[in-house]
């Protein structure tokens, strides 16, 4: 390693936004409106971020269709859906503000389907008490991203850098002062010097084999934050969306929107039984995602699966015209990829990895992480969704907390001085690490590793042993596999040069995913209970003890540390709101601080 870095481009701005999905663009708009110069860095082209994959809608308690709805009921549904592990203050801010964010989107030119009165239409979704999702057909994410994109590119002081990969946050003392990476097309190194950095880089579902996530979802932002010393929160919670395509093989994992069930689609097993009536007689097909995903899994395990190992999702009774109007992209998707006309034949579906509830730990009001100058919003951040996210709460999340993060980062950049001095040694080390895989043969003894093969091996380990159902035994197996893969990853070698070399790009994707996989598995081992998306075959029930803590993952002197921190119970002013949910049942409250008979007596686990 040399202490003098090789030449790199330097780009300066007040606020650096990492990621150009909905959260990143909303943050950029907010920071610019606060008077800051903003640079948005995107791994792919503008408008392609994973936000486009969100289909069903934006949850907001506007009450246009069901006047009984309100932010309070939305708050209650979100807390109960998250099994009360959510940061209640984030949920409160979110449920309040998402209404304004939806109306704002409309003011920016975004379109929504309408009610008979011409108001924004809202549809039913899993575990939402009322019809709540503002939507346009089944392409709401595309509408959101295009609207924010057009708003952002016509906003002053926003510079967009497409097809750059960022690999490390740069620090000046304790404070983040920028980020380092490279231009994907040329391989040229670049350093972004900034007063504050907003991570809006999305989730990390690519470490699983069957996923609705694109190649971008390798968790770069969370991994960089971890390396920079930030806390990660509740990493064990990974959402299986109940309905992904399962056939043909190449299409396996592609999302089938929850809007299919929201519009009245029904689930059947191979025997023709509508099994959700047994698993959740109240919410049925529109139960929360964790419940529906597990129900399909159980049906398949019991030998009642479809030919390709899933369940049937049927919309034929809704009528062909209605299906084509409300679910046009689903009609097209099955027609093109599976040669199935969903107005004539049922769809075959099964669980697919969809969303990571865990993420960088943030302050509710500002989206500030535990590292000064670093903010995080959207899927990369943790806390809002608790143990399970409700559908429609992600598009709302990115708007509400994207805006908050952008504003807070702008404020920090303007008021905290100009400590933007790069550490050449850090940059030189990063360059050396990035260039190593291009260096010809592996270090002598060990054979060279192919980054794609390593990725595939990681996906198998995570899918099999840290997937929808887990046990101590399987998780220990996954952990051993991850540590072995980490060792192998030091021997990765790729051919070709630095200009647009996908093999080279995949190297850091894989090492980032290894870090986050370890965090998922270590968290899942510690959480010896079943709650939300975490289903432990060896601990089938919820435990009061675990309903009172969040797990924080951070980088320690001897590697990764997982510690439990007591969560702040709901304040008295908000507790009564839970009863506003249509699904509130005092006998079935998530176990934790609300179900203890004695007053909360403080945590019994170590605290840091």
């Amino acid at each position: 390693m040399t202490a003098t870095p090789e030449p790199y481009d330097t780009i300066e701005c007040d606020v650096l936004v990492v990621g150009a999905g909905g959260a990143g663009m909303r943050a950029a708009i907010a920071a610019s409106e606060a008077g800051c110069s903003v640079t948005v860095v995107s791994k792919s082209l503008l408008g392609k971020a994973h936000t486009v994959m969100a289909e069903g809608g934006i949850a907001a308690g506007i009450g246009n269709v069901d006047p009984e709805d309100s932010w309070e009921v939305h708050f209650a549904d979100t807390m109960l859906g998250g099994q009360l592990l959510n940061n209640w203050r984030m949920v409160e801010l979110y449920a309040h503000e998402v209404i304004d964010r939806v109306l704002e989107l409309e003011r920016w030119g975004g379109i929504f389907d309408r009610t008979a009165d011409g108001l924004i239409m809202q549809r039913a979704f899993g575990a939402h008490s009322w019809k709540r999702l503002a939507h346009v057909g089944d392409r709401t994410g595309l509408e959101l991203i295009r609207t924010c994109q057009d708003k952002m590119v016509h906003t002053d002081r926003v510079d967009v850098r497409m097809e750059y990969t960022l690999t490390a946050l740069l620090k000046s003392g304790d404070r983040v002062c920028g980020a380092f990476g490279y231009n994907r097309n040329t391989g040229q190194f670049a350093a972004f010097k900034a007063g504050a950095v907003v991570l809006a880089s999305g989730g990390w579902g690519r470490m699983y084999r069957y996923t609705s996530n694109s190649w971008e979802c390798s968790g770069d932002g969370a991994a960089m934050a971890y390396q920079a010393g930030a806390d990660l929160l509740d990493m064990e919670f990974v959402q299986f969306h109940p309905t992904g395509m399962i056939w043909p093989p190449g299409a396996r994992g592609i999302l089938v929107t929850e809007a299919v069930r929201g519009e009245g689609g029904l689930l059947f097993n191979a025997e023709g039984t509508r099994f959700m009536l047994d698993y959740d007689p109240v919410k049925k097909e529109l139960s929360s995602r964790d419940v529906v995903a597990r129900s399909i899994y159980k049906e398949v395990q019991a030998g009642r699966g479809t030919p390709h190992g899933g369940a049937y999702l049927d919309v034929r009774h809704l009528g062909a015209d209605y299906v084509k109007r409300k679910l046009p992209s689903m009609y097209e998707q099955f027609h093109a990829l599976a040669s199935i006309d969903i107005t004539q034949q049922p769809m075959e579906v099964g669980p697919t990895i969809h969303y990571t509830m865990g993420g960088v730990r943030v302050e509710p009001e500002t989206a500030a992480t535990t590292v000064p100058g670093l903010y995080a919003a959207g899927e990369v951040a943790g806390g809002l969704h608790g143990a399970n996210r409700l559908g429609g709460n992600s598009l709302g999340d990115i708007l509400v907390f994207g805006r908050r993060a952008g504003e807070a980062a702008a404020e920090f950049a303007k008021t905290s001085g100009t400590a933007r001095v790069f550490d050449d040694a850090q940059i030189a080390a990063e360059q050396s690490d990035l260039l190593q895989p291009l260096g010809g043969d592996s270090n002598g003894a060990a054979p060279s590793e192919n980054p794609y093969k390593l990725h595939e091996d990681l996906q198998l380990a995570m899918q099999d042993d840290a997937g929808i159902g887990r046990s101590e035994e399987s998780l220990q197996r996954a952990l051993a596999a991850i540590l072995a893969l980490r060792e192998r990853s030091t021997h990765i070698r790729v051919s070709g040069g630095r200009a647009l070399n996908p093999g080279w790009h995949t190297v850091r994707d894989v090492t980032n995913m290894l870090v986050l996989s370890e965090a998922i598995v270590r968290g899942a081992i510690e959480r010896r209970e079943s709650r939300g998306s975490q289903w432990r075959f060896d601990h089938l029930d919820q435990e009061v003890e675990f309903g009172k803590v969040n797990f924080v993952t951070r980088r320690g002197d001897d590697g990764m540390e997982v510690v439990s921190v007591p969560l702040t119970p709901l304040p008295d002013r908000l507790r009564p709101l839970l009863e506003r949910s249509r699904f509130y049942d005092p006998a079935k409250l998530p176990k934790g601080y609300l179900t203890e008979t004695a007053p909360v007596a403080g945590t019994t686990r170590k605290k840091k």
Partner: protein
């Protein structure tokens, strides 16, 4: 209730056993990919790819990347025809690689080339930045001053522009349009995607700007001689020519040539519909 509370000791993914492990058909596809960099001599390289049931060309390209040539450059993202990243030309036709099935193509070798109308970056990846510049030139959505009340818009008005809002910016229409492809008029011609964009703004019931003159002058709307090539390649089945370009041409003709409307415009300065 016939529910298995605790599955058998296995924690395998639910469908592992049922899934025909790989779906291999036993057939082999010859994929001829044009590889190259600017200034070089791009050349087709042939790869042999085992065919899987329902395989799309993007799957085949991924097989090559993972197993045969980790350096092969190709843009992609969602792999579900929703982001418009993996545009390329398969057997000479502009398509999304993620939506083009091997079993829909004639038997024999399949060629995969980059979009021809855009400058090459590497292999299947081209420089589409001009499109983003055009988008910045088009004045954004602009509503009348806000009176603070919820907007009431009839569903029919949404239906009319929803078709345009389906655009995933794959730029296949820009690629196939002969004004861009053959005549290199891209500096004076917005292209089909951006006529769709203008149409979505002009027909938005709450937008108050008038972009017709600009669309004619800077956008070069008149160059389009409605050959409908753009409509044919649109993966979202947007009727680009019939529903966006022709109505725009009519509106531009109205504003430009109709004397009554011309006077009306001078007197009232209002956007007409």
């Amino acid at each position: 209730m016939a529910v298995l509370d605790q599955p058998a000791s296995s924690v395998d993914a639910p469908a592992e056993n049922a899934l025909t492990a790989s779906g291999l058909t036993g057939e082999t596809l010859t994929l001829r990919v044009l590889k190259g960099v600017p200034g070089g001599e791009p050349a087709e390289v042939a790869y042999q790819v085992p065919v899987v049931t329902g395989m799309v060309i993007l799957d085949a390209v991924h097989y090559v990347q993972h197993n045969l040539d980790t350096d092969l450059a190709c843009r992609w993202n969602c792999k579900a025809a929703k982001c418009g990243s993996c545009s390329a030309e398969v057997n000479g036709h502009p398509v999304l690689l993620c939506k083009t099935r091997v079993d829909d193509l004639p038997p024999g070798p399949v060629t995969v080339h980059p979009l021809k109308s855009f400058p090459l970056i590497k292999d299947l990846v081209t420089d589409v930045s001009r499109n983003y510049e055009v988008n910045r030139e088009i004045p954004p959505f602009t509503a009348a001053p806000d009176d603070g009340t919820p907007w009431r818009i009839p569903q029919e008005d949404i239906d009319r522009i929803y078709e345009f809002r389906k655009c995933i910016e794959c730029f296949l229409c820009q690629d196939v349009c002969h004004i861009i492809r053959s005549h290199d008029l891209s500096e004076r011609f917005y292209g089909p995607r951006f006529f769709v964009r203008v149409a979505s703004l002009e027909m938005h019931p709450k937008d108050v700007l008038d972009r017709r003159e600009q669309t004619r002058e800077q956008g070069g709307l008149g160059y389009c001689n409605i050959t409908k090539c753009c409509t044919e390649v649109c993966p979202e089945h947007i009727h680009i020519t019939d529903n966006a370009i022709i109505p725009l041409k009519e509106r531009v003709a109205d504003v430009h040539w109709d004397p009554v409307r011309f006077v009306g415009r001078m007197l009232f300065g209002r956007k007409e519909d």
